[in-house]
Symmetry: C2
Subunit: 348 residues, 2 copies
């Protein structure tokens, strides 16, 4: 089959690799119809954090598709099912899965590297019952528009939701979102769904801010650095009780802490790629919550909401490329020509 | 009057300074009977973080004493009252004081530096009604044993309590305390008061561990580094849901995060003096809460508990020095010959 392989910085290639195949009796084999390129995929692309291991590793952790086969012990997933995979697999039965923290599953793990990645024609899915969410029979992933509404659920929608939940966003809340990438935009969407009254997005790219407005942002802060912090304090009368940190750099976390009201909470879902100074958080009792999102915990609810038409995350996907051209998806995101790329892998 | 002045690293001197005096109509003038040396006082002593400003600043933020005079607008505090001061002053009326976050008081501040410090004969106390807690008339601060039970309430008892509260400790909890200094020991005490069933202290000093046992510690981890983390994981079956970080170094915070169970909470009250790597916290959704303790929020309740005999924090004070010999208190703590020094300033 064909799958994307990390050959080195700025060198993502679609190679011929051994076909994905069932291995354990709890596996499912999923033929991928659509994948996405994640902001975190840009790290290995840029030679920074090698999340798929050394060159040779498979890439991609966001995919949806059709089940082709299942092992003998798979109970709830059947061949022919259209399915959504969260960006981590999990058994669904351990103490952490039972607590809704599927990314700490005792038997779980992540796609790519030595395993099949999402940016390929097929994926062996371990613990299929615990991992996959089956879509209703009438969902046709041959409909690219529908696929574009569902594909962001694999990661960014759940991650934005986790940021908002971790930051304690509820009805009537005032929320600041740091970052206007796909996750930040999904943070806006999540805060809006959870009933926030005021949602301030910090960002400078007009195309992204337009998406944010569509997702429910009420205010925009275009400034940078201390001026941006001052502007948020002015808008909020001294900082917001709920802040979503959706970038991961030390500068972004510093900003997230600085715009929080004393006693406030930062829901942090940007991967913390740099060491951070916690003195301001300490002095003002700002809590840092969040982490890698337990997407599987939220997936069923969010899939149902999308299928019911209650929200549409597809505007974060502003570029579609066929699998053969996935390198262009990476390049466009790297150069900020696109927010996020949908990769069309196969017809359903 | 005489007061301790920071002259430079390892040079704390008791100097003659201008007498403390009422200034605003909301002030009280307090004659100090007892002060303490805080672990954070060792930072300027060691030339690290100059919490009292440049040389010339007054020192000390932990004191109890007798009110000598009050301004015209002071309502609840009267001359002759025995009082406890928290380590920060606050108006008691702003939005943050009303929320119990007195260390973020809009009009508040800290002792020492250009203000009177606690390690002197008298202190001008701003916003006396909001700041001070008056003791019942029968409390005699001339009783040094009683004073030693009350003096730790000014900071370390409230700080340990804040760590435990921030970490979500409740009835039946399993708790790890990182740090066997006075704050860590008070964290053990607080966890015990809040009903924790299992309290694991990480430390190596037998005299401190003996105090911890007296305060309710059920387990001790003497190892350091990765072996210590492994031992906690062994004792707890994979980490504790509640961790109290009572040191402030990057190594201590790393340890606190590492011994937490996925989804757990670290109540951080050690001043974060170094930048920290949050990747482990992110990967396992460990929340970092806490900060500078709003001592005033807890003080009334904890004073009443001490006076009722329900707990006794005085074992953290294992050295008593007269004000004239305060330098010896600093030296003994710096050299770990003492956990914490009580400074006897004047007879009540």
């Amino acid at each position: 089959m064909r799958a994307t392989v990390f050959h080195g910085p700025r060198d993502m290639r679609v190679d011929h690799v051994p076909d994905a195949a069932l291995s354990a009796s709890t596996d499912a084999l999923v033929r991928v119809t659509h994948a996405c390129v994640c902001g975190s995929d840009l790290w290995p692309y840029r030679g920074e954090l090698l999340i798929y291991g050394p060159p040779g590793g498979r890439t991609g952790h966001e995919f949806i598709g059709i089940v082709e086969a299942v092992g003998a012990d798979v109970q709830t997933i059947r061949p022919g099912d259209a399915v959504v995979a969260p960006f981590a697999f999990s058994d669904g039965t351990c103490e952490f899965c039972n607590e809704g923290l599927h990314t700490s599953c005792l038997n779980g793990g992540y796609w790519g590297g030595q395993r099949d990645g999402g940016q390929g024609e097929a994926v062996r899915v371990p613990m299929a019952d615990g991992t996959l969410v089956a879509l209703p029979p009438d969902v046709d992933l041959g409909d690219d528009d529908l696929a574009a509404r569902i594909a962001p659920l694999t990661d960014v929608v759940c991650t934005g939701h986790h940021a908002a939940r971790s930051a304690g966003v509820s009805e009537g809340a005032t929320v600041v979102v740091v970052g206007d990438g796909a996750v930040g935009l999904c943070g806006v969407l999540a805060a809006h769904r959870l009933g926030a009254e005021r949602i301030i997005i910090m960002g400078r790219h007009e195309n992204r801010l337009a998406v944010a407005r569509g997702f429910g942002a009420t205010d925009e802060v275009h400034e940078r650095g201390p001026a941006a912090v001052a502007r948020v304090h002015e808008l909020t009368g001294g900082g917001a009780p709920h802040v979503l940190e959706c970038v991961g750099t030390a500068a972004a976390l510093d900003t997230a802490i600085a715009v929080a009201r004393p006693g406030g909470t930062v829901g942090q879902v940007g991967v913390p790629s740099e060491a951070v100074d916690l003195m301001d958080a300490y002095n003002r009792n700002i809590a840092l919550t969040g982490g890698v999102a337990p997407a599987r915990a939220y997936l069923q609810e969010l899939v149902e909401a999308v299928l019911a038409g209650s929200f549409d995350p597809s505007p974060v996907l502003d570029l579609v490329v066929p699998l053969a051209d996935i390198a262009e998806g990476y390049a466009a995101m790297d150069e900020r020509r696109a927010i996020k790329a949908l990769v069309k892998v196969a017809s359903a």
